[in-house]
């Protein structure tokens, strides 16, 4: 569904993407995990037509993003990182304008608007001005807007950044539901738990390069299953173990305080890049 080969991007002499290769299958929820400035947003911006690529090629559902830009754009919906709604228009007007831009006939616009407002639990706010909505509601409206024209691929760029944990979990549930309904999802995040919970596969990106791609379980499994964090003279040190028992037996002989926990994606990221995601 998404195919990327040798994608590069330079801003003046700065290399933002250093040759990205990836394939995302239809119906997959693919997470792009990396620290700020790693190249996550640049990748999404190129794939959705907001930014020009410097080299390489990419296609969405078989449509080359450079040679067939309009056909490629019809395949996707985008929820960008920043809120980009018309705050002086109502919820319904924002959706209506989007539907018109995508060439949807009036009857279909009305039907999809009603359905999607129900879907994101905003039906009662249809006539509210967007500026009266909270951050979480705005984010849900942006998701509804991105789905209005029934795209095959949904790009979510840091969809829960700045939201409180309760709202974040509601967005996660919504994203899972969208995937279940058949939409391919490409999601960028720097939240470890978001990638772990949502993704079928995760790509680690660091300094414009993909350093690993696999399922969350496989990536974490490279480190073992359990970890012990200890704070010593040289800062935080983490040891990894295949089983809880093994970790406990090692910890039994320790005098310093420690924390026993399950291995997470950040451990795998740290092992591969030498840095933390956040």
């Amino acid at each position: 569904m998404i195919s990327v080969r040798g994608l590069k991007k330079y801003y003046a002499k700065t290399e933002a993407l250093a040759g990205i290769d990836l394939e995302v299958a239809a119906g997959e929820l693919f997470a792009y995990l990396g620290p700020n400035g790693a190249g996550k947003t640049t990748t999404i911006r190129i794939l959705t037509g907001l930014t020009r690529l410097s080299a390489g090629q990419a296609s969405l559902n078989g449509h080359d993003i450079e040679k067939q830009p309009l056909a490629a754009k019809r395949q996707c919906g985008l929820v960008p990182q920043q809120i980009n709604l018309d705050s002086e228009l109502t919820v319904g007007e924002n959706l209506d304008i989007h539907g018109r831009i995508f060439g949807m006939p009036q009857a279909l616009r009305r039907q999809r608007t009603a359905r999607l407002l129900d879907y994101v639990e905003l039906a009662e706010r249809r006539d509210s001005l967007v500026k009266q909505l909270s951050g979480g509601l705005k984010r849900r409206l942006m998701i509804a807007r991105a789905l209005l024209h029934n795209p095959r691929i949904l790009f979510l760029d840091e969809p829960t950044v700045g939201l409180d944990p309760g709202i974040r979990r509601r967005i996660w549930a919504l994203v899972k539901r969208i995937q279940k309904d058949g939409t391919t999802i490409f999601l960028t995040t720097h939240y470890i738990e978001e990638a772990e919970f949502l993704a079928d596969r995760v790509a680690f990106i660091d300094r414009g390069r993909i350093v690993a791609v696999d399922s969350p379980a496989a990536l974490m499994g490279r480190m073992g299953s359990w970890a012990i964090d200890q704070v010593g003279d040289q800062g935080m040190q983490t040891s990894y173990f295949k089983s809880r028992e093994e970790a406990r037996s090692m910890a039994a002989g320790q005098e310093t305080e420690f924390t026993l926990r399950r291995v997470n994606l950040e451990d795998a990221f740290l092992a591969l890049t030498g840095k933390r995601v956040k």
């Binding site: 309009l70 960008p80 920043q82």
Partner: protein
């Protein structure tokens, strides 16, 4: 060009204009009202041009100026949408042609211009100024609005910040507003200066609008210059949209 997408771009601007209508009309009223009081009403019959009072001379000039400034004002709206609200990205990510986007924004700019003209004519009426507002008067206004709305869209795509846009307005629009035949007949300028101001589209717009308002036959060349300039600016705007991508 996708007409529905063009209409969507236009409709968005009009819905926002509708929400701000009272503020917008109030803003459109202040300058012409002050000009009419300061330069027109206070002067009374002390200054006359071709048998017309200065107020009668001034109103068509203000019409030309407002059709320029208000149509050009769409650049500010585009910049706010681009740099502060990030709404421009919604259009960039959509399957619409540059022609549809530019046409929608230009039409919105022209609509703002026409609204401002109606405000000025209403204020002029309040000062007792009634001139000839026939089809050629409105055609000149439409062409002038087309020129400056197209210029606005093109420049709004090229600037890198909202501050750049303000600079362009100060260096391009403000001098033209004062030198383009708004407040005085350009024929009174020295020959070299007269030749220079004839390079400004607003000079031709003022000439055509004033001639028709006074019931005279307008210079055909003015319409041709405005049409040609508008087409060039529109074409440049079409190409400038691609420059707005990183």
């Amino acid at each position: 060009m996708n007409i529905q997408a063009c209409y969507a771009v236009f409709l968005r601007e009009i819905l926002i204009l509708k929400r701000r209508l009272k503020r917008q009309i109030a803003g459109m009223t202040v300058s012409p009202l002050l000009y009419m009081i300061a330069f027109g009403y206070a002067m009374g019959d002390a200054v006359r041009f071709d048998g017309h009072t200065y107020l009668e001379f001034l109103v068509p000039g203000l019409v030309a100026m407002a059709s320029m400034t208000q149509s050009f004002g769409i650049a500010t709206d585009i910049n706010v949408a681009r740099f502060y609200w990030f709404i421009f990205e919604e259009f960039q990510a959509a399957p619409i042609s540059n022609a549809a986007y530019v046409s929608g924004e230009v039409l919105a700019g022209m609509t703002r211009g026409l609204l401002a003209i109606c405000v000025i004519l209403a204020i002029g009426l309040g000062f007792g100024v009634v001139l000839d507002y026939g089809p050629l008067f409105w055609l000149a206004i439409l062409l002038n609005s087309f020129v400056f709305a197209s210029l606005a869209v093109g420049l709004a795509m090229l600037v890198k910040s909202h501050a750049d846009q303000s600079l362009l307005t100060n260096f391009v629009i403000t001098p033209m507003a004062f030198l383009g035949g708004t407040f005085f007949p350009v024929q009174r300028l020295p020959e070299w200066a007269g030749t220079l101001v004839k390079l400004l589209p607003l000079t031709h717009a003022s000439a055509a609008i004033r001639a028709t308002a006074f019931g005279h036959s307008p210079p055909a060349m003015a319409y041709l210059v405005l049409l040609a300039t508008g087409v060039v600016f529109f074409w440049l705007a079409l190409h400038a949209v691609n420059q707005a991508r990183d």
